[in-house]
């Protein structure tokens, strides 16, 4: 019964996330058409759209990873459908509050809401909208924090601290109790998520202290560090949750032996945990008042975070497939292409995280270029792989890819074409987050229009995925089943 409840809530999560994703892609397309001068939104409407798009996208794909591990964890430990429902309710309420603050209240301080912009005295939005926006983040945060802590607590009931980090594997000898890679990656990622959500709590408390008490002024540099520790870490940990699903499902779906934890897998993921928590400093390179040591740590952590990623995860996936007979399904193709997208986005990120490059790339379109690559063509596809597998597994439908080649082609052409326009924009010094480009930024508008059309192609592909998944989920829980 519990398993059926878990499947049901997982299905509702999947449909909710996909509906919000389709809506947010549409917002993105509207913005790119506006930048391409095909549409003419008021600037404050454009920036309200930008804010909605950014927060919704980061939120739903972090939630998607949590949904995936919450379901798959039930193979190893007892997981709670109730906590998942709790987080779902909080997420939906948070989304309603967020969209009201931006579209009804016109709040448009972007997903970064860098202090003190939300409190700016001449802000062009309603005062209540600032409150509603910040409280929507509180609602998201409470839902996910309780959920993440709940999952971590369940893991710790079955595995000790040493075991969740797989330290017993570091000796190279066969340990008495093995840690499955899925448990290791889920634990490492959940710890990161809990830490960055706690940073968000501190950030929001500082905002509220200034808003609701008199005489308190916050420090802009500290607030910026907190913002990026929270936002950057959440986005990266979300990706690792997607990778946990790949480790768990890809060999299984492909008919191969499961991945095991070895000393280098254990070491790689422990290093990743440390590096990813300090890589956010690369967002602050252009704040020259930031202590110099942090800037160097930012580049070191950003570089070395890529080492375990490439040498452990990507190499393991390549080894799984290379000259091995795999049962290819749409699920595995999504996982496989998601890994490629993640690696390509990673290259763009490493280039940007080099301080001497960042001075000519920071806050140009190179930034959305790399994070859209490892999100839209990386994490989204990894989570979509889980969604696809779950929908077919729940409904008992065979997962093949033969009839889905057109869908995949649309996603590939649309997705990679879309991000390529961002990279070309970044290389042409086009600034990011501009409602309209100045006359001198000649490449901005044509690249934006081309990007919007590629995004339309991606949207059509995603709509086809959504329709298949919703059919399967409906079949799984129809009264006849």
């Amino acid at each position: 019964m519990e398993n059926r409840s878990l499947k049901k809530v997982t299905s509702v999560w999947i449909i909710t996330i996909l509906v919000l994703f389709l809506a947010s892609i549409t917002l993105g397309i509207i913005m790119r058409f506006n930048q391409g001068t095909q549409l003419h939104l008021k600037p404050n409407t454009f920036y309200a759209t930008l804010t909605t798009h950014g927060v919704t996208m980061i939120g739903i794909w972090a939630a998607a990873g949590l949904v995936a591990i919450n379901y798959l964890l039930s193979r190893y430990v007892k997981t709670s459908a109730g906590l998942s429902i709790f987080a779902l309710v909080f997420t939906v309420i948070g989304v309603v509050m967020l969209w009201m603050s931006t579209f009804a209240g016109n709040f448009h301080a972007a997903w970064t809401f860098l202090y003190p912009l939300p409190l700016a005295p001449y802000a062009a939005w309603k005062a209540w909208a600032t409150n509603l926006f910040l409280w929507s983040l509180v609602v998201f945060g409470v839902g996910w924090l309780v959920w993440s802590v709940g999952m971590m607590a369940q893991i710790l009931r079955n595995y000790s601290i040493t075991e969740i980090f797989a330290w017993q594997h570091l000796t190279g000898k066969e340990p008495e109790k093995k840690t499955p890679p899925f448990i290791l990656i889920s634990s490492v990622s959940l710890i990161g998520i809990i830490l960055c959500l706690l940073a968000a709590v501190v950030l929001l408390v500082f905002f509220f202290m200034e808003m609701y008490t008199t005489g308190v002024k916050n420090d802009a540099l500290l607030m910026k560090n907190l913002t990026y520790f929270f936002g950057h870490t959440l986005a990266n940990e979300a990706l690792y949750l997607g990778l946990a699903a790949v480790y768990e499902l890809m060999p299984e779906v492909g008919g191969r032996k499961k991945f095991g934890t070895t000393w280098y897998v254990a070491l790689g993921w422990n290093c990743t945990m440390v590096f990813v928590l300090t890589a956010f400093f690369h967002h602050m390179y252009m704040d020259f008042v930031q202590p110099g040591g942090f800037q160097i740590v930012g580049q070191l952590a950003s570089y070395f975070a890529s080492l375990p990623a490439a040498a452990v995860t990507a190499f393991s996936v390549a080894t799984l497939v290379y000259r091995n007979r795999i049962k290819w399904s749409f699920t595995n193709l999504l996982f496989f292409i998601g890994i490629i997208g993640w690696l390509i986005g990673g290259v763009g990120a490493v280039i940007d995280s080099t301080i001497s490059n960042n001075i000519i790339l920071h806050n140009t379109l190179w930034v959305p270029a790399h994070f859209h690559t490892y999100n839209a063509m990386g994490n989204v596809l990894l989570c979509l792989g889980f969604f696809w597998w779950a929908a077919h597994d729940f409904s008992g439908t065979r997962d093949t890819f033969r009839s889905h080649w057109p869908t995949l082609t649309l996603l590939l052409i649309g997705g990679f074409g879309f991000v390529l326009m961002f990279y070309l924009g970044g290389a042409s010094s086009v600034p990011r987050r501009y409602a309209v480009y100045p006359e001198g930024i000649a490449n901005g508008a044509p690249l934006a229009t081309a990007a919007a059309w590629f995004a339309v192609v991606y949207l059509v592909g995603m709509l086809m995925v959504f329709l298949t998944i919703i059919r399967r989920c409906t079949k799984a829980f129809s009264p006849a089943s």
């Binding site: 700016a120 802009a220 704040d287 080492l307 290379y322 091995n324 490629i340 070309l424 970044g426």
Partner: protein, 180 residues
């Protein structure tokens, strides 16, 4: 400093290389026999791959870190100091800490120090050349002064654009100066 086009080419070559390798891996799977042994000596190959990547990253760090903007012209005395005050939605450039409404002209080939601050929210001080290529930048943060040292080799008009989102007129926040 590496220019935009070089960075784009480095990225594109790496991206295509990754795609080609993974497509080859995928195709090898389609052609594999049922009892195919897969990759031979995977541990050894993984070690070499790791070592190669590690060496590449260490070399890149050694080459790029000294070129960080914090160390540029750090030991030199600037020929000119320009005080930049950013506020929603304008920049003011002055030779003193007081506001100035005169056109700013700066010498080519000499160290200029920009002391960049903000009156209200975070802004970005992005300096573009007359072809609208981003040359250098720093942030303007309330309560802090960011000091950017730069030598302009090419004379001409330089445009300043805001490179940190600061509100509804962010995209029209601009200014300019001339280098002779």
């Amino acid at each position: 400093m590496t220019d935009h086009k070089t960075l784009l080419w480095i990225f594109l070559i790496a991206a295509v290389l990754i795609a080609v390798i993974f497509i080859a891996v995928y195709r090898s799977s389609l052609q594999a026999a049922e009892d195919s042994p897969g990759l031979e000596n995977p541990k050894r190959k993984r070690f070499f791959f790791f070592a190669l990547l590690f060496a590449l990253l260490v070399i890149l760090l050694a080459v790029t870190l000294p070129k960080s903007p914090y160390y540029m012209h750090a030991d030199e005395t600037p020929a000119e100091v320009v005080y930049v005050r950013a506020e929603q939605y304008s920049f003011n450039l002055s030779r003193t800490e007081e506001l100035s409404y005169d056109d700013m002209e700066l010498p080519a080939g000499k160290v200029i120090e920009f002391r960049v601050r903000s009156k209200d929210v975070n802004h970005g001080f992005g300096v573009y050349n007359d072809k609208y290529e981003l040359v250098t930048q720093t942030q303007a943060m309330p309560g802090y002064v960011n000091r950017l040292r730069w030598v302009f080799d090419e004379p001409g008009t330089y445009h300043i654009l805001c490179l940190e989102y600061c509100g509804m007129s962010h995209h029209i926040m601009s200014s300019s100066f001339t280098v002779n």
